[in-house]
């Protein structure tokens, strides 16, 4: 055998020894582990980023498609902080008054007409032809009294307020749910 072959054999033996050492390090009490080995160093950070992104996306979607309450809409990732305002008992009398103001088809139509922006009474009359002028005026008074609508005193335009928008969206959603329920039956 030539010296070259001897040198080659020596290298191969060293390589086999090195591989055996590596294999020994990867086993527990001599038995090979099962499963897939992945470096998870950055996975926690990645998961946090994904959750943050999802939370922001959902928040944005809620803002666009669902109503926002007077205190805004928030998604909390940790325990929700207690707010003094939220601990106040619900004023059911006020709520009933507001619901009562919503309890007329014409008033819901008026709120819906104002969702696209402030309008003068003649513009509302033009848009809501099935409501007479005197009825329209009295409906606006009811909506203004509960705070769903505010009228500019100088120009006279009627504007929908934040509670008014919330109420209008809520009514639309309830109607949507009921319609879906009827179809399923």
């Amino acid at each position: 055998m030539s010296d070259e072959l001897k040198e080659e054999m020596k290298k191969l033996k060293e390589e086999i020894a090195s591989l055996k050492d590596q294999l020994k390090g990867m086993t527990e009490e001599g038995r090979p582990r099962r499963g897939l080995y992945i470096d998870i160093g950055n996975v926690q950070q990645y998961a946090d980023d994904v959750m943050q992104s999802v939370a922001e996306g959902v928040h944005g979607e809620l803002e666009r498609s669902i109503f926002i309450g007077p205190g805004g809409c928030r998604i909390w990732r940790g325990p929700r902080p207690q707010r003094e305002e939220e601990e106040r008992p619900v004023d059911y009398g006020q709520a009933a008054k507001a619901m009562s103001a919503l309890g007329h088809e014409h008033r819901l139509k008026i709120l819906n007409a104002l969702m696209s922006g402030g309008k003068y009474i003649n513009e509302l009359q033009e848009e809501l032809k099935d409501i007479t002028a005197s009825t329209l005026s009295s409906h606006l008074d009811v909506l203004e009294e509960v705070g769903f609508v505010v009228q500019e005193k100088v120009r006279g335009r009627y504007l929908i307020t934040m509670p008014g928008r919330t109420a209008c969206k809520m009514a639309s959603r309830i109607a949507g749910f009921l319609k879906r329920g009827e179809q399923e039956e």
């Binding site: 803002e63 666009r64 926002i68 007077p70 205190g71 805004g72 809409c73 928030r74 707010r83 922006g117 402030g118 505010v150 009228q151 500019e152 005193k153 100088v154 120009r155 504007l159 929908i160 307020t161 934040m162 509670p163 008014g164 928008r165 919330t166």
Partner: protein, 207 residues
């Protein structure tokens, strides 16, 4: 030249209802027979103090994509108030008030002048603290109303801007933005985007 506001000596009355200002968001009117005395700055007439009955309306409302915030201010004016600004139209409808007319309106010239001077002193003091500078702006007006806290509510108006400031609220409105600050809420609206902060100042932004 140093500002030196002084009251004129002649007390006049309005011979017709007067519209002291009329804009998209504010209106101030006084009834017929409202008493008035001119305010001069170095012999130049720059405004008036009014004493009588009138009405102040300001639409302190901010429109946002999530709805309107605020309510209009609608006040009876039955205390003396001050106006600095354009007065040509007003002068056409003023006539000297006789002592009999002053008595009929519930006072005499001395009493009225004292009240007017007190108001002017309060305003000058406030002006000194805040550095109001637009007293000679030809197209603008400044109004100062005494409130129940014995301080002054102020209204600054010109063609494009309105600023109303009271003890518990501030409202600013110009062509593209509005700001309303009340004890429990701050609402900002700028080019269709808005920001609402509720006490204790959690907030949300709208598109």
């Amino acid at each position: 030249m140093r500002i030196n506001y002084e009251l004129d000596t002649a007390i006049k009355k309005s011979t017709a209802p007067l519209k002291l200002c009329r804009s998209d968001k504010a209106s101030i009117e006084v009834d017929k027979d409202t008493l008035t005395v001119a305010i001069k700055d170095n012999d130049e007439m720059v405004g008036h103090v009014f004493f009588g009955h009138g009405r102040l309306i300001i639409d302190t409302i901010v429109e946002t994509e999530n709805g309107a915030f605020g309510k209009p201010v609608d006040k009876e004016l039955n205390q003396p108030f001050l106006m600095l600004g354009t007065a040509e139209e007003i002068d056409k409808h003023l006539a000297p008030a006789t002592s009999d007319e002053l008595k009929k309106l519930g006072g005499d010239d001395k009493e009225f002048m004292e009240k007017a001077q007190h108001l002017l002193d309060m305003f000058s003091s406030k002006r000194g603290q805040r550095g109001f500078r637009c007293h000679h702006e030809p197209e603008g007006s400044i109004f100062a109303f005494q409130n129940t806290h014995s301080t002054l509510d102020t209204l600054l108006l010109n063609d494009s801007r309105l600023v109303y400031n009271t003890e518990d609220m501030s409202f600013i409105s110009s062509n593209h933005h509005s700001i309303l600050k009340s004890p429990r809420q701050i609402v900002l609206s700028h080019h269709g985007k808005s920001f609402v902060a509720n006490e204790p100042f959690t907030s949300h932004c709208c598109r």
